[in-house]
Subunit: 313 residues, 2 copies
Amino acid sequence: MLGSGRVRVVDARRPRVPRGHALLRLRVAGICSTDLELQRGYYGFSGVPGHEFVADVVACADPSWIGRRVVGEINVACRRCAWCRRGLGRHCPRRSVLGIVRQPGAFQQCFTLPLCNLHRVPDALTDERAVFVEPLAAACEILEQVRVERAARMALLGDGRLAQLVARVLVHAGAEVVMYGRHAAKLALARRAGATARQLPKRLPAKAFALVVDATGSARGLAQAVALCAPRGTVVLKSTVHDRVELDTAPVVVDELTLIGSRCGPFAPALRLLASGAIDVDGLVTESFALRDAPRAFARAAERGVLKVLLRG
Amino acid sequence: MLGSGRVRVVDARRPRVPRGHALLRLRVAGICSTDLELQRGYYGFSGVPGHEFVADVVACADPSWIGRRVVGEINVACRRCAWCRRGLGRHCPRRSVLGIVRQPGAFQQCFTLPLCNLHRVPDALTDERAVFVEPLAAACEILEQVRVERAARMALLGDGRLAQLVARVLVHAGAEVVMYGRHAAKLALARRAGATARQLPKRLPAKAFALVVDATGSARGLAQAVALCAPRGTVVLKSTVHDRVELDTAPVVVDELTLIGSRCGPFAPALRLLASGAIDVDGLVTESFALRDAPRAFARAAERGVLKVLLRG
């Protein structure tokens, strides 16, 4: 499958397996907004996308992994540089990233990842739930960056794929989450997950929340998040946007706001939250397609009102 | 004197002195970039600007203040709201701000401020140095917001009035400050104050600093600061810009940067730094004018290469 505007199905070749890597056979993969952005030209991407997956280990040097059902961290770090030595391989400047940067992705029958990136999926956790580990980890990253007090009131902009997971993580952390979105059905889903969910009003309440998460995936989200944020408050930027964003920085300076970019997160807590049933992702899958129907799946994922679209290996 | 594009000298009236306020007679005031932005329409300002000053107390309820030489905090807070009770009157939503928001400023013979905003100036501290307390406090605010380790290497964008003070504060805190600016004479001043000062290159070193302060006062500064900032690093926004800023937020998200807006700071440490001689501001005044020459003073302050311009009462 190739990016750069078009989604095409191409002949699969069994990839070369580098030292320390495992050969993986896809069970199920999820299409994320980043995949849609890649298609629009983000990162000048061309290649096989896909970074949310559940797969079986087909081959690797350590026989104990063979046949295991796994999910995998997407940053392939050098493991030698100062960042890696500090345990921050997710920021390794030499990293490749599965399906995003110089690492063929999961939207194919077979692909590879280093063994050290893999996490076994407990038997009781279905593929349809485990495929949410990667984006749920990204939602969990917020808790690594920001102190979320129990009963703290916070705003969440967006009601899409990632926003739904962010809502669940923050509600589980004990926060009172007020989600602002545009889709009644998605807002209802968030409500069932314990959030207060509201149609995005013409005028958002000004400076009303000490913590605001922008998960709109839209270039307008940041300005709305800044407007919602109280003096000395924090705005978490949770979506990558392939657009220049226009921002009036005066309120950021005058109200001394903190803006924090947030990307990939820790797999272990995300896996625990799903395996224990503490976070429920049922209802977030809109439709599943076979890999050969990837172009249709991408088109479906880009439609208004659609949540997670899966590809089956 | 009136803002809104033109600077005019108008007849001074002795102001009414509200309860708890002191009547102040100007000794010397400084023109800051915010004053120039107000003139360009920032905040829709019209009135008497001026918020950096040294003055004598002429009248107030407490006789022990009469005749004292003072500087004054510029945020006039309600002292009753939740922000004020938390000691954050600088963010009181009902505040007025001297010479900026609903509070006639210091560019006149007589003006008023609450007694609780005033700080006595030690006899040994000259007017020409004490007038830097307010902007130096704004520079000190960075140390309230960001942990600056001894010998930490950081970048400072800008070589102007505020950047000069930020450089001095950060050098005094033990940091290795690399200033990027456009004016050889200003860079030389920063070098004498202990900073490494460099002509702004065509290509800034990418992701090279864990801490970057944008004190350019320019709409382009933020994008440059983000480009300079290392993954997981911090960018301090130290200047208010009366422009929409265009920003590619992808590196903020991907590198998980923290952007912090920074405005007014604590007067007490700034006053101590100046009174003890720990921070030297000599050489930062370009020219002084009489109040009646304010239009010329504003024009001078807006010229390229000019640092602080003073108005004398």
